[in-house]
């Protein structure tokens, strides 16, 4: 695990290699996180994987986050691991929602229904083959498109499903159940 100065060193080296790609750093609970520009994510991951002294060769996990109503709205998080040193590094690509309402920041227009433009990011399957299923899952639940993915389709939800169910503006679903505390509000099915 790189400590806080170690994280700053990585960010500094990255900034020298690819200027402006690191948007911020974040160190809490002993976990180091780089917040980066999604357009440069492939170069950054390749640098972290191949540069001597870094060598984060293992992608332990890749997942999506929805930070609504924060901007940029989405995050794609890469959990990297250096096995010989047992060091973990988190890389978070901050991804804006192109389907959001520009006049009101933080106010979604898409409502998670999948009828709007989707956020896009480069696929890292060419660097880490294990990312294939992870990226499909992120696409399935958050509607984030991974450019260059070999087979980008839903992995857990049915193929004809409409919407991105893990987005925070997606309706929870279910249906009201009549109890004594809400029987005046819920329609009486027995009438």
């Amino acid at each position: 695990m790189p400590d806080a100065p170690g994280l700053e060193l990585i960010a500094h080296d990255l900034d020298e290699t690819a200027a402006g790609s690191v948007l911020g750093t974040y160190y809490e609970h002993g976990q180091a996180c780089l917040i980066v520009d999604p357009e440069r994510i492939l170069d950054l991951l390749r640098w972290l994987r191949d540069t001597p002294g870094q060598e984060y060769r293992f992608l332990a996990s890749l997942h999506g986050v929805d930070y609504l109503p924060a901007e940029p709205r989405f995050g794609v998080v890469y959990e990297l691991l250096n096995m010989p040193r047992v060091e973990r590094l988190r890389v978070r690509a901050a991804l804006a929602d192109p389907g959001g309402d520009p006049s009101e920041p933080g106010r979604p227009r898409s409502r998670g229904r999948g009828d709007d433009r989707l956020p896009e990011i480069d696929s890292c399957v060419s660097l880490f083959p294990t990312a294939e299923f992870h990226e499909r899952e992120v696409y399935d639940f958050f509607g984030i498109v991974f450019r260059g993915h070999p087979d980008l389709r839903r992995i857990l939800m049915p193929e004809d499903y409409v919407g991105w169910p893990q987005r925070r503006d997606f309706p929870v679903g279910g249906e009201p159940v009549i109890f004594t505390h809400n029987e005046r509000e819920v329609p009486r099915w027995y009438e």
């Binding site: 857990l156 939800m157 049915p158 499903y161 919407g163 169910p165 997606f170 309706p171 929870v172 679903g173 279910g174 249906e175 159940v177 005046r184 027995y190 009438e191």
Partner: protein, 252 residues
């Protein structure tokens, strides 16, 4: 008996004929009855003797009732588990709960050999078409038990991935409440299903618990009920009581 004899004593005595429905009082009388049955099978019994034999040894019933009895006591459940309820479902065939007592211990691995489906767990929207296909492949007549809160109503999973009650896409005969229901509860639900197959759906619990008129549709509205509403409920309550009296007259 003389020493060195065959140690066999033969006693001859005349046996009286048994009257119909009389219990044989000795093994000898039972033997007479057995011999008569053998004569019947050979076709030697005729006339009143035949009639007497039939009245005392053959149980008559309707074909329909006999078929229902056979169906209810020889059910083949499908080996089919959905979620955590399946663990409880598995234990009903164990010696501790032993559904073999009711003739349903033989879990078939193919829906084409099964006639009962236990929906043991939550039904995901992706699983629903699969379950529907399994149900369609099962033999007629077939029955379905929705086990637990999830397959009955969605349970705690009020979300995008779970069907809110399996009876949205297939017929369900018995709902067993619980999360998960204990195996005893499932066995009880199974017994209810058996009674349903036998044509006795056990709807009389309100009478047993002296609760006639507490049906939801016959319950007076609380709070701001108008006069018309109150009158409608009173009428419904009277209907319910009358309906129950009718049922009681039928069964009694």
């Amino acid at each position: 008996m003389a020493k060195g004899s065959a140690r066999l004593e033969i006693k001859r005595e005349k046996l009286r004929a048994l009257s119909p429905l009389e219990e044989p009082r000795s093994p000898a009388e039972l033997r007479v009855r057995q011999l008569r049955a053998r004569d019947l099978l050979r076709g030697d019994l005729e006339g009143p003797a035949l009639e007497r034999h039939v009245t005392e040894s053959v149980l008559t019933t309707t074909l329909d009732r006999a078929m229902r009895w056979g169906r209810a006591n020889s059910i083949f459940p499908a080996t089919f588990g959905l979620a955590c309820c399946a663990i409880e479902m598995m234990s009903i065939v164990s010696p501790r709960y032993d559904i073999a007592r009711f003739g349903a211990e033989n879990m078939r691995a193919s829906p084409r050999q099964a006639d009962m489906l236990i929906l043991s767990g939550r039904v995901a929207i992706k699983m629903a078409p699969v379950i529907r296909r399994l149900y369609d492949q099962m033999l007629e007549p077939k029955w379905v038990i929705a086990m637990g809160a999830c397959s009955s109503s969605g349970g705690m999973f009020a979300n995008y991935a779970v069907v809110q009650g399996a009876d949205k896409f297939m017929p369900v005969d018995i709902h067993v409440p619980g999360c998960p229901p204990r195996p005893e509860a499932l066995v009880y639900g199974f017994n209810k299903l058996q009674r349903m197959i036998l044509g006795n759906p056990d709807s009389g619990w309100r009478r047993r618990y002296n609760a006639i008129g507490t049906e939801e549709w016959a319950r007076p509205a609380t709070g701001s009920a108008s006069m018309e509403e109150a009158e409608a409920y009173a009428a419904a309550r009277e209907l319910s009581v009358a309906h129950d009296a009718e049922l009681a007259g039928e069964s009694g």
